[in-house]
Amino acid sequence: MKRLVPRVITSAVGILLILTAFIARPDEAGEGPWLVRAFAYIDRNFSVWFSILAVFAFILGGASLLKSHLSKIMQRRPDWPYSVVTLVSFLAVLVIGLFKLGGPPGLQGEVTDASAWFMVVFEALYEPLMSTLYAMLAFFVASAAYRAFRLRSLEATVLLFAAFVVMLGRTPLGTWLSDFLPKSLNFLRIDTMSMWIMRVPNVAGHRAVFIGIAVGVAALTLRVLLGRSSAEGDQA
């Protein structure tokens, strides 16, 4: 029963939503056969219901966070002081945002107003932290590329050449380096070659990958709808 009920709900809702794409729409006045009106109602309101459910998922996530860190603190597991920091930060921002401290008064007051403490926390803490972690990618890309891009084979050589052309082509240096070329040799310009690589082989490869992924998604979706997916805990 524990697995059957979720599986039935998943299958029923999934099939219903797929069918809404193929059932006719009511006319401008909202009139039409009862089935058509029913499916239009489902299509219009399902998104709203999902948003309501998503709120519960947020609450569940917060509760999971509280539970795991509280138990870590109480059991004095390794690194428990960091859990204290996590919980204090979590609760502080929650209170600041929920009660809209510092900003326009009232529950309707805008939490993103410049005077709101929420925006202060966002701009002083969240923005720099996120930007820092994202910026680390620049260094990690450099070290990963330095470690991985070796001329081991013909394919690797072609890849390296393409990397050179595209990386230079995305900067003013690429344009400047090709400025000496006459118009008849425009196709040899770094920026031209870069655009060609992006528009032709890249798009061809991506479209092929997309088609493969779409087919894979369709197959897995069908298995989920029929209750034959391992993610539901069924080791079929």
Binding site: A21, F22, Y134, F140, A145, I213, S230, D234
Partner: protein, 269 residues
């Protein structure tokens, strides 16, 4: 019938029904005993070796099921692979660490792992703390997982699922910790980073096929065969339509032009 059916999407309905028919054909064929032969996927085979290596070294295995929620099909596929990885770690007696960034994924992962450990007769080795919830925030999650990698020094890292900017943060941390890394994702713009930093990568459809490959379940293997049939049909349609459009433009025969227009109308979304 047109009262009920959306006149604009009849062609899409035909395509979907044809795809379903192909998938069901593959599954029924496999269940009747004609199991398809699946080509070797190096990344999938490397998983078992990596878990074995981790057991010998006495270091844990790290599994990250992507950074999206359960409504993302890649997460669903990843949980399927997690089941097989859980079976491997249970059998080898190796520690498994699975940080998650979504509460629903945490719940599903715990169910999958409990099933896996029980299936190989090691329910005692299972603990709910194998899978832990970190944070919904993308970089908060990545920072914590990087911390886990640098402290616990896993011998194997499996990054399977939908990743975004944090993919390289996770993969490079694993590479610097000396872990054998097997990644799999259908997020195409992250694949270059995973390929640069990981030892094996399951690209796109290989990632979805990995679950079938590992489980050897006839239903899943059969659906792989159905997928191949669909892809072959897509390739034939693409080439055929391109040739048809080119010929119709070059020859300018009225009947050929009408035929071309009809085919394009059928294929238009």
């Amino acid at each position: 019938m047109s009262l009920w059916l959306n006149a604009e999407s009849w062609n899409l309905l035909i395509v979907i029904l044809a795809m379903m028919a192909a998938l069901i054909w593959g599954v029924r064929r496999a269940m009747a005993g004609h199991r398809p032969r699946v080509r070797r996927i190096a990344g999938v085979e490397a998983m078992e070796e990596a878990v074995g290596r981790a057991t010998e070294l006495g270091r844990p295995v790290l599994y990250v099921a992507g950074t999206q929620d359960l409504d993302n099909i890649q997460t669903v596929a990843s949980l399927g692979i997690l089941g097989s990885v859980g079976t491997m770690t249970a059998r080898h007696g190796c520690e498994l660490i699975m940080p998650t960034d979504r509460s629903l994924v945490l719940s599903a992962a715990r169910e999958v792992l409990r099933e896996s450990y029980t299936a190989v007769g090691r329910p005692d080795a299972y603990s709910p703390d194998i899978a832990t919830y970190i944070s919904d925030d993308q970089f908060g999650f990545a920072a914590r997982v990087d911390g886990i990698i640098s402290r616990k020094k896993p011998a194997a890292c499996f990054l399977q699922g939908a990743f975004y900017a944090e993919s390289l943060l996770l993969a490079e941390a694993g590479a610097q910790a000396g872990a054998v890394q097997v990644a799999g994702s259908a997020t195409s713009h992250q694949l270059p980073f995973l390929i640069a930093a990981c030892d094996h990568v399951l690209i796109g459809e290989e990632f979805f096929a990995a679950e079938a490959y590992l489980s050897e379940d006839p239903v899943k293997l059969g659906s792989l065969q159905g997928q191949d049939l669909i892809k072959n049909a897509v390739v034939v349609t693409l080439i055929g339509t391109a040739m048809l459009v080119s010929l119709a433009g070059a020859l300018d025969w009225p009947w050929l032009t009408s035929f071309k227009d009809g085919v394009l109308r059928l294929l238009r979304p």
